[in-house]
Subunit: 313 residues, 2 copies
């Protein structure tokens, strides 16, 4: 009342939508007139009622580009360091990890293996999978969700009952990728390395997906229009249209149906073995990254030879 | 003899040049006619006798782009997570870490602090520096070389005498960035996070510097020409020419003078306080990254609006 606020827009993921819904309920309870509209945004892509979430397409573009380069590096290193794991953000939802499959041009390209929280994997199966590809290609690149679980649903970082002690003497849970790296090294007896792109996944602005960027603006516009039209307690949704071309319409969903539901990868997007994704997943995610991945040396098209004087001068 | 090899080209850094020199000495000793030419390539940029090394310009372009995005993310997060450290490759040489300064448009931009192995820093000074920027801007982004040392020249990871115990019960040295992250968190009492781009620094092909790429080809051409011209026991060098424009010529240096020398950052490239770089460093590295950093949303120039149907439909 003090600030005469009539509209409340909340941009974010599950927790934010839950908060927005609670703000609506509180205003209603107090008889305070307030338009509450949620605006979806999370690289986890785990909001219900929407085809996808702004932020996801750009993060997907980044992780696919990153693992392609790191995968080529691993391929080139050969026997001296043949196994590479990359830990991708996602504690419960594997959407972003699944998107690393876009890095492939042929099925044997890296990443050869993809593991997501929706499907647990036993340590034995995991090691067997890595061994298979290592024997077949001489190297193996593996994308792992930070929230990967074992076959009993326990998080990898604590599944073994093992605890790390940090430099200050404090115990902490072992990270999933550090645990698996060590496991592969000890099981296969070969040099194993990992990448953990961390916050780069959500902040690498040089690789923003143009489709994602446009949709991020559009959900904001739709939120304002919805509020002005008298809507409240709703979240803007992206509604993919049927047809051969990628077209998305703006919709609205009740915040109560969005709040605190996690939209996880459906079974049809994961292969039977639980170590990869299906064509259906690729068809889903491909339009979101806004065109093909940047080719090697894309920026090298400029004529720059004039600055180099060949030998002998 | 068995394979009738007359030319030996070795692409790499310090160790590779040392090996190439030894191969030359061995061939000489055995009276075997062999042209040995070293070809420089290391993102560490620490080879002697050459202005810089192929690989460095592209890695520099990547780390500057990465810390700019992660820095904006930290700025945007504000009080909820105001301190970010990024660990950059380089055990003894801080060339790559120093290049993160290219991310700045104004002096207050991230990274506000840069620490390299060539200059040790005490834990007290480090915490004071971070506190200064945190109080001034409300956040702080710090670039740290993996090989950072304290004021007594001890590597940060072991300077405290502290040891980590991993999930398998094995002791290991604490990483520099994990140690400093914890130190800042406990000293300032604020949420502190880190990024460790790891192998992405040397493999992110989407951000290859066109200047670097051209020079990488040219040192290869020069190596073949030098061998054909009868040269041996030499490494190809890049010789920056005097003048307002960036021009580089190909040269040759004796492998014996290159092998096992580390070319570290000279004092005039580091500020007096030991927590940043000078304009001279920026002038040195700017031409190598091949043009300005990719602007935010550069790929978003395509017209993609047609795929979006605004609300209400």
């Amino acid at each position: 009342m003090a600030h005469d606020i009539g509209h409340f827009f909340y941009i974010g993921g599950n927790d934010s939508m839950d908060t927005a819904h609670k703000v609506h309920l509180l205003a209603q309870q107090k008889g305070y007139e307030l338009q509450v509209i949620g605006v979806p945004k999370t690289i986890d892509n785990d909001l219900a009622m929407t085809d996808h979430c702004p932020g996801y397409g750009s993060a997907a573009r980044f992780v696919a580009t990153a693992i392609r380069g790191s995968g080529w590096d691993t391929m080139a290193m050969g026997e001296s360091s043949p196994i590479k794991l990359m830990e991708i953000m996602g504690r419960n939802a594997g959407w972003l990890t699944a998107a690393t499959a876009l890095a492939r041009e042929i099925p044997e390209d890296p990443p050869q293996l993809i593991y997501v929280p929706e499907r647990g994997v036993s340590l034995e199966k995991f090691v067997d999978d890595v061994r298979y590809w290592y024997r077949r290609l001489g190297y193996c690149v593996i994308a792992v969700s930070e929230g990967l679980r074992n076959e009993r649903g326990q998080w990898m970082g604590e599944a073994s009952g093992r605890v790390e002690v940090d430099a200050f003497g404090h115990a902490r849970k072992a990270g999933a990728v550090e645990f698996l790296e060590r496991l592969v090294r000890e099981s296969l007896g070969v040099k194993t390395r990992h990448d953990k792109p961390g916050y780069l996944q959500r902040s690498f602005t040089a690789l923003v997906s143009p489709v994602d960027r446009e949709e991020a603006y559009e959900v904001g516009r739709a939120a304002v229009r919805a509020a002005v039209a008298g809507e409240t307690d709703k979240m803007v949704t992206l509604v993919r249209q049927a047809g051969p071309d990628y077209v998305v319409a703006m919709g609205l969903a009740p915040l109560a149906e969005v709040a605190n539901h996690e939209h996880l990868l459906p079974p049809e997007y994961l292969n039977e073995e639980g170590n990869g994704v299906t064509e259906a997943l690729l068809d889903y995610v491909r339009p979101l990254i806004g065109g093909p991945l940047p080719p090697y040396g894309r920026l090298a098209k400029h004529a720059v030879e004039k600055h180099v004087r060949p030998w002998p001068g």
